[in-house]
């Protein structure tokens, strides 16, 4: 297990490095940021002088070399736009997204386990059918559309919730709600599937033959096994929820990493793009490693490999 983990960490580092190089070049291929920094009417000479000064005219490999040099000093670059170290900006944004994602994911997981288990107990029963259609319908709608409709309904028409922004519990309800539906819909199906498998496993028969109560059969014997595939999918959802965060943060004005990335890509604020991608990738890969550990904790067969 330990060997597996260290291998996993090593390959993650490899992946991050690869991603980083790819993004560096990709970003630079999207064009000279000088146009964007300067006003539209800026004279040609000013433009030239600007690119010269910030090294945007250098060949890309020289830019990369410079960047690597900075990196070895622990410097992730400096945002020309915001005149601050990129890492500061990213570290400000990441807790927002993390808390948003953590709350959303917890709700999705708990909800999915509950709904999915009940649905699996009587496959094709009425609860199963209803929960399937409802969860899948919700997960099938474009999220930005749901978000704006929700604002119009719950804030403007009904006045129950604030439209947007950061604050107490009411401010969380809509963003979380939007962020939850897709993973919830997906996870309900995964839980349902793996619980059906678990509930029809032989060891469930053994438990029943022992006279174990039905509740314990479902929530102890079956669930513990049924959770394993759920955890894997939940891990894959980590990156997907970052996608959702881009949309939710943009609409609800949450200063998270998703919005930051989109904004900085649009503004060609390369330092911020790179720093945020690096941090996001580290977070996502860490989550995956944590999930591997969780998997091993839950499944002794993996632990002893």
């Amino acid at each position: 297990m330990r060997q597996y983990l260290s291998k996993r960490i090593f390959s993650s580092i490899l992946a991050i490095t690869g991603l980083f190089v790819v993004v560096f070049f990709l970003a630079r291929l999207t064009g000279d940021p000088g146009h964007l920094y300067l006003p539209i009417d800026a004279p040609l000479e000013v433009r030239k002088e600007f690119s010269e000064k910030h090294g945007f005219n250098d060949p890309i490999y020289i830019q990369f070399g410079k960047f690597l040099g900075d990196l070895t000093d622990g410097n992730l670059g400096y945002s020309l736009r915001k005149e601050r170290p990129a890492i500061d900006i990213v570290l400000e944004a990441i807790p927002v997204t993390l808390s948003l994602a953590a709350v959303a994911m917890s709700i999705a997981l708990v909800g999915a386990i509950f709904i999915g288990s009940l649905a699996a107990y009587r496959p094709n029963g009425i609860f199963d059918r209803i929960s399937r259609v409802v969860s899948l319908t919700a997960a099938s709608a474009p999220d930005f559309w749901v978000a704006i409709t929700a604002i119009l309904i719950f804030s403007v028409s009904l006045g129950w919730l604030p439209t947007s922004g950061i604050g107490g519990v009411p401010y969380w309800i809509m963003p979380i709600g939007i962020l939850v539906i897709r993973p919830l819909g997906l996870l309900v199906q995964v839980v349902r599937g793996s619980m059906i498998t678990a509930l029809s496993s032989d060891f469930v028969k053994t438990a029943r033959a022992k006279g174990v109560k039905e509740k314990a059969v479902i929530f102890k014997h079956a669930l513990r096994n049924g959770l394993l595939p759920v955890i894997t999918v939940a891990g894959d959802q980590a990156a997907a929820i970052a996608n959702g965060a881009v949309i939710v943060e943009t609409i609800f004005g949450w200063p998270g990493i998703g919005k930051l990335m989109i904004d900085s890509i649009m503004q060609r604020d390369f330092a911020v793009v790179q720093a945020s991608i690096l941090i996001t990738a580290i977070v996502i890969l860490s989550i995956n490693i944590i999930i591997d550990i969780a998997y091993a904790v839950l499944d002794p067969r993996i632990r002893h490999k």
């Binding site: 032989d202 014997h221 002794p300």
Partner: protein, 537 residues
């Protein structure tokens, strides 16, 4: 005293007119038809039947773990202490499960929950039924493990099912069943997957415990020999119906029903006489195995040498882990040995170039143990059987494939129309025939049968063995016949090799080895295999 006697005669369990059906797309079929039996204290009832005979379904019904749907109990009652448990509420019934009646399953790896330690799974019985504290339950669980002779039990209790060997897991299962000292234990094929020596020990333990606690034991098995060794009473099930019923000795000595007789005839070790007619002319060996060794994590095969002669059946016997499959893989060049050489007609196959190897593969074919896994489920039978012909395209004109496949199907006892079907439409025995047809397609010299009949019911086993013998005569084949089951080898092989831990322990002409074993291990093996002869004689 009087009460005691009547007590002893009282039935612990009575099954009356039990009928169970299953609903499928093809319609509903009756898996169990009006089954009656009873069980008394200290008594062992063997339920004998081949796969699909309804024996396990009966056990599931008694334990209340039949999956419904698709299963459906149509009629009948199950009296446990005069209480019809089919009429009880789930809660009341649950109280009896494990405490009055407990079950031991065949496939212990899947029947034990993989994510809980064995100790906690045994302790759960006490927590559920006796409301004991966790600590006390654990203590008792450890004691039980000790009773079923798990060494170092206080430590092993914390281990998980996958950390135990098959035999040990079966002991854990038994411990779990014993936990609440039930009146009845149902053992559903408890030893099927185990080696003979371990099987003997488990059966011994079960008998011992039955006597110690004066329990009733229901032993469900397909193996007549096991039933003969351990049971007092026996019922024979065929297609859900009881065809024969009575005291074990009576049934085996004097079977009434045709099906029982057929089962008795199929017991391996009886075809011996037909085989003897074959005269053997020792010529140059086709295959010479010289000092081969191979190790994976452990040593799988260590300095093994033997020869295979034309038109000979060579049996290789050994328990799991003895290295017999490794040898098959080495000969098939699915793996390479770390040492030694394999000569085919005097040429070392390990030095073969691509073309030589390709030609070699044409001459050496294989039939694997598991007919469910050895046929590609996405290909139809024609594609499967003709695949060797497609690969070795120069062997036969493509236009002739159709008729060749038809011929092959006929020669293994199937119908040419079967060619358009898919593997899942066939039974295990039929699939094995298909695998044999495929092996014959290229007119090979050698067929390696790697546990080719182990997974089959006895009656089917007998048919396949007969088929193999016929084919040998017809096509002058040589077989390497690998098995863990000694009687099967006895039926078929001209010579036998006994293996243990990667080494050849003993080899010789079949009858010599079976009748006058030289090595202790061979003797142990022979002794451990249950047999009806003991009962009859």
């Amino acid at each position: 005293m009087v009460t005691k006697v009547s007590d002893a005669n009282k039935s612990l369990l009575k099954v009356n007119n039990l009928s169970v059906s299953f609903d499928t797309a093809e319609g509903s079929f009756n898996a169990v038809k009006e089954v009656n039996f009873d069980l008394k204290k200290g008594e062992t009832l063997a339920i004998i039947g081949e796969s699909g005979s309804g024996k396990s379904v009966t056990a599931s019904v008694i334990m209340g773990i039949l999956t419904c749907p698709p299963g459906r109990i149509k009629s009948g009652e199950i009296l446990l202490d005069d209480l019809d448990i089919l009429k009880l509420s789930d809660t009341d019934r649950r109280k009896l499960m494990g405490s009055k009646v407990a079950i031991i399953f065949q496939d212990t790896l899947s029947h034990l929950n993989p994510v809980f330690s064995v100790g906690s799974q045994i302790a759960e019985c006490f927590e559920v039924h006796k409301n004991l504290s966790k600590k006390e339950s654990w203590k008792r669980a450890v004691k039980l493990l000790e009773r079923v002779r798990i060494p170092n039990s206080s430590k092993r209790a914390k281990d998980f099912p996958h950390q135990f060997s098959g035999g040990q897991r079966q002991r854990v299962m038994i411990a779990m069943a014993l936990a609440l000292e039930p009146d009845i234990i149902i053992a559903d094929e408890p030893t099927t997957a185990l080696d003979v020596t371990i099987q003997a020990k488990i059966l011994e333990l079960l008998g011992e415990l039955r006597d110690e606690r004066n329990m009733g034991l229901i032993l469900i098995t397909h193996d007549l020999a096991i039933a003969a060794e351990i049971s007092d009473k026996v019922i024979v099930l065929n297609e859900g119906k009881i065809v024969e019923k009575g005291i074990t000795k009576d049934v085996f000595i004097n079977p009434n029903h045709g099906y029982t007789r057929q089962l008795m005839d199929s017991i391996p070790g009886k075809i011996t006489k037909q085989k003897k007619k074959m005269s053997k002319k020792f010529s140059d060996p086709i295959l010479e195995i010289k000092n081969i060794s191979k190790s994976y994590d452990t040593i799988a095969c260590d300095d093994v040498s033997f020869n295979l002669f034309p038109n000979e059946v060579l049996g290789i016997v050994g328990e799991s882990g003895s290295g017999k499959t490794t040898i098959s893989n080495l000969i098939l060049r699915l793996a390479s040995p770390s040492n030694g050489e394999i000569l085919y007609h005097g040429k070392n196959i390990l030095n073969f170039n691509k073309k030589d190897l390709f030609n070699y593969r044409r001459k050496v074919q294989v039939v694997f143990q598991d007919p469910y896994a050895s046929l590609n489920p996405t290909m139809n039978i024609f594609d499967i059987i003709s695949e060797p012909l497609v690969i070795h395209a120069d062997f036969l004109n493509k236009k002739l494939h159709q008729s060749k496949v038809s011929d092959l199907l006929i020669s293994v006892g199937l119908h040419p129309d079967d060619a358009i079907k898919f593997p899942h439409q066939f039974s295990g025995g039929q699939r094995q025939r298909i695998a044999i047809a495929r092996a014959l397609a290229l007119n090979p010299e050698i067929i390696i049968c790697d546990e080719a009949v182990s997974a089959l019911d006895v009656s089917i086993q007998a048919q396949i063995i007969k088929l193999l013998l016929n084919l040998r005569n017809k096509f002058s084949l040589s077989y390497i016949f690998i098995a863990h089951d000694l009687p099967v080898v006895k039926d078929l092989a001209d010579r036998v090799i006994v293996m243990k831990s990667g080494k050849i322990i003993e080899q010789g002409v079949t009858d010599d080895v079976f009748n006058f074993p030289k090595e202790k291990y061979t003797k142990d093996l022979l002794k451990a295999s249950p047999s009806i002869e003991n009962l009859i004689s």
